[in-house]
Symmetry: C2
């Protein structure tokens, strides 16, 4: 009997049809290379060229180079034994096989491969891998249940399940904020955040507590302690953050509602990256009682959903309808805002604007100094300064008392935040006040339309500098709603290179409910374009 | 562009190599049949014969009949859209394809298929399916976390994770006992069960609360409310119960320790079915404080693990070592006990006994009236009568107040239990006392060896009568330890038809620690046989 890793490998052949010459040896050779993470040998076992294919629960990778890159960043496959090898010969040079694997950590996995003899050498042209299902995906979830917490009443959200970003109090559970040391010292919350109680009172149950960028101070979702949540629709791409866990949970169908926060774009950006609906509410419209602050001048509560109707229902259930406003009929774009976007996003966005225009939602172009390139640059600079000053005021003492508790990227951001002087923060506040007045004057009750992010979701391979450049470009766009406290809904519907991009509609303050309802119509236009 | 379910399906062909004639149409036809759960059409799309193969996270099914049976019990696949179809042509009559699917409930799935044209008709000869990962598997878990509850101290169980059967109090969580209506009315526990606190104090964290048969009154693991947990090592087989969730969780690698109860076999049976180690402790040796009773005269706390060393460590951490006894050197078998086993189990067990004997653990044969067929039948009859009387005394009032709250099988068992008269229960108790004295006299400090269950894990297809027959045969074997309060460790190592069977060693009362340590050696003998 052939062997792999010192264990017998029973080979199952249908009707006694023998395996093609050398195939089983090649399959076991590949397995040996996998167990030692011999990247060079592994690459050789895969057929060269752009059509070689490898898929698993994280998605489909096409092209040997893409597969090799994936393998390089994975850092080895879990150790396993092959329990059985089922070979289906096609001809002397082609065969399909399935290996039932027994990982040393338990469960059973399955690998299927299409092999082809190329110039005398057996190579994999296609592979499909199933690992044993996990108890939970710790990149997405900290705690999850069926349900974790029950609704408190029946209502319009009956049957809905909530992924709660780990910056909201959940009764009986400690709050972790994406930081293990913070979690370790936290006590169970005596009661849930007001915004969560509103969902439970409308019939929703809590599916679980979902991961976040550390202290919600990032838009990438790359949490060095818990891992980067997968982008449910773009294999190998980041989820976006800081509401990374709720976004991935909703996109993967683990929950129907993500309860999240948006200070600088933390709902709109992962919504854009994963084809979700996302609403940043009017600043102050939804209580932040029970929510860990980042920068109170900009912090808002909002939601991520897979469809607009659910978002509309959640918005109605959560917002007081008194004093609600209705946005004006006009849509406007601001060319200097779209300048931040990548060419592919700008092209897709232009098509969307044309479609909205053609469908009767007249789209004007803002030609106002408040939306000049210089004004937007200044707005963003002031925004990030005030955000940093408030974030440091909020978390600085804890961070100083817990050196090493944060990931390098977040620690560096807080370190910079710690350098903001009171004087600089004061100047930035004054600049923001002026910019806000100018933007209010320019927009009035019209709805500003812009891409929800500057790019599609970057690859998890992207280096820090690339992520930082994308961050700056995106935040310059999202800061308009952040700085003015306006509600902003990100609607899916565009794609670039197969990856989703959202269209963001920024309405007048307190227009949240009407804005989302209006967006249902805009979404139909974008869908049918 | 071809269509599926009203949506365009982009077909990706490498280097422009066209798909073989009719293949894409066949693939989309299969998809249409799947979406309407047209079982007849689906069967036709799969190649006839015993070598056709289909695998997913639940394991590999071989043979079209097996696949058809699986499909019949599944009740349809989740609705989905095909996002892309990647075709790799092999020759005019063979092709491999991968379909990226977008289930309507979120996430992305992947299906790969090997197709062959047989007599002019395209048929699937092999398929591999990946559904989007779930938030949690509700058949296994009710709540799960990373971790759910922290250790309270460091110790010999550092790094270990516990799957807690949902009959133990876990501080801050309600107890569900596998019954949704019971869970709905439960309050969060003020403190965790003593046996759980012992594990936490030794360094283990709680991974989650795992499913159980309703009120732990079954050995099948078929919970009609939450579903049957998968058998991690035998595709399509039941997990065994009542510690179904902890057993599946440990076997799948979701946790390293299952904290469970064994009244009549609820640890030993799932351990046997899934190749795990399992210990039923001496009755009374581990506190049942915080454990929902079933039948207090027999209820014990114990553990499931993937390896013997972990079980030994858990046993040491949980049991007071004072007054601990050591089992005698002799092993004995009782032929009338093994009579209950299926021929395949009996054969495998005989081989195990020979191996133990050959390795120097002399195995005697009990020739004692206490182990005659009649005596064992009487023992089991008395055991199940007392168990039923106590179970009804414990849960009868709640069950009567909540009609319809239980699954039909469990409700029928309790209905029978409700008919046990006080007189019948008293007679059964007296019979048990006599039997226990006779068994104690026959065994002394020797270790009784028997198969852990009468059969390998039955199929999830098995009907109620088959399950009931297996239940009776198995409980007749497990009742010896149950009725005498002796500790019993189930050690993996045997297989029949590819499925695991455990060997059970029943020691004298209070010999738990030494028994498990001794079992480490027996396990080595069984392994190398």
């Amino acid at each position: 009997m052939p062997q792999s890793g010192g264990h017998d490998v029973p080979v199952q052949l249908p009707d006694g049809v023998p395996a093609p010459d050398g195939l089983v040896e090649a399959a076991l050779g590949y397995e040996a290379a996998l167990m030692t993470d011999d990247l060079e040998a592994l690459e050789e076992y895969f057929a060269p060229g752009p059509s070689t294919i490898r898929g698993d629960e994280g998605g489909l990778l096409v092209g040997r180079e893409t597969i090799t890159r994936f393998r390089g960043r994975r850092g080895g496959a879990p150790k396993r034994i092959i329990e059985a090898l089922h070979v289906r010969s096609i001809d002397a040079d082609h065969a399909w096989l399935a290996a039932v694997t027994a990982p040393l950590t338990g469960g059973r996995g399955l690998v299927s491969q299409l092999w082809e003899r190329q110039d005398g050498v057996w190579r994999i042209t296609a592979a499909h891998v199933s690992a044993p299902p996990r108890a939970l995906d710790r990149r997405i979830w900290r705690v999850v249940g069926e349900p974790l917490v029950r609704p408190t009443a029946a209502g319009q959200l009956d049957g809905h399940t909530v992924a709660v970003k780990d910056v909201f109090a959940v009764e009986g559970f400690p709050l972790g904020a994406g930081v293990p040391a913070y979690l370790a010292a936290a006590e169970p919350a005596p009661r849930s955040a007001a915004s969560l109680r509103a969902l439970q009172a409308a019939g929703a149950s809590v599916r679980g507590i979902a991961q976040t960028d550390q202290f919600a101070y990032s838009i990438a979702g790359r949490n060095s302690a818990y891992g980067t949540p997968p982008n449910a629709v773009v294999p190998g791409a980041i989820s976006g953050g800081s509401s990374s866990g709720p976004a991935a949970a909703v996109a993967m169908g683990h929950a129907t509602i993500g309860l999240a926060t948006d200070t600088a774009g933390s709902i709109r950006i992962p919504a854009s990256y994963q084809g979700l609906w996302g609403l940043r509410t009017t600043h102050g419209a939804v209580s932040v009682d029970g929510v860990l602050p980042l920068a109170p001048s900009f912090d808002t509560v909002g939601w991520l959903t897979r469809d607009g109707e659910t978002l509309a229902a959640v918005t109605r259930a959560s917002l007081d309808t008194m004093d609600a406003r209705t946005p004006g009929a006009r849509l406007v774009t601001a060319p200097a805002l779209a300048d931040s976007a990548t060419p592919e996003v700008a092209r897709a966005f232009a098509v969307a604007v044309d479609a909205l225009d053609a469908a009767g939602s007249e789209v004007g172009t803002l030609d106002d100094p408040a939306f000049s390139t210089d004004a937007l640059d200044a707005l963003y600079a002031a925004f990030r300064t005030v955000q940093a000053a408030e974030a440091w005021a909020q978390h600085g003492p804890w961070i100083e008392a817990h050196p090493g508790a944060l990931g390098d990227d977040i620690a560096a951001r807080f370190a910079w935040a710690s350098t903001i002087t009171a004087e600089a923060a004061g100047e930035a506040r004054a600049a923001l006040d002026g910019a806000r007045a100018a933007i209010d004057a320019a927009l009035g009750d019209t709805v500003l339309v812009l891409p929800s992010a500057a790019s599609v979701a970057p690859s998890t391979d992207a280096d820090g500098a690339e992520i930082e450049a994308i961050r700056t470009a995106t935040l310059r766009m999202t800061a308009v709603a952040g700085a003015t406290g306006r509600p902003a809904v990100s609607v899916p519907g565009l794609t670039a290179g197969g990856a989703p991009i959202g269209v963001c509609f920024v309405g007048p303050r307190a227009s949240d409910i009407a804005l989302v309802e209006r967006a249902l119509g805009w979404s139909e236009i974008l869908k049918h374009d």
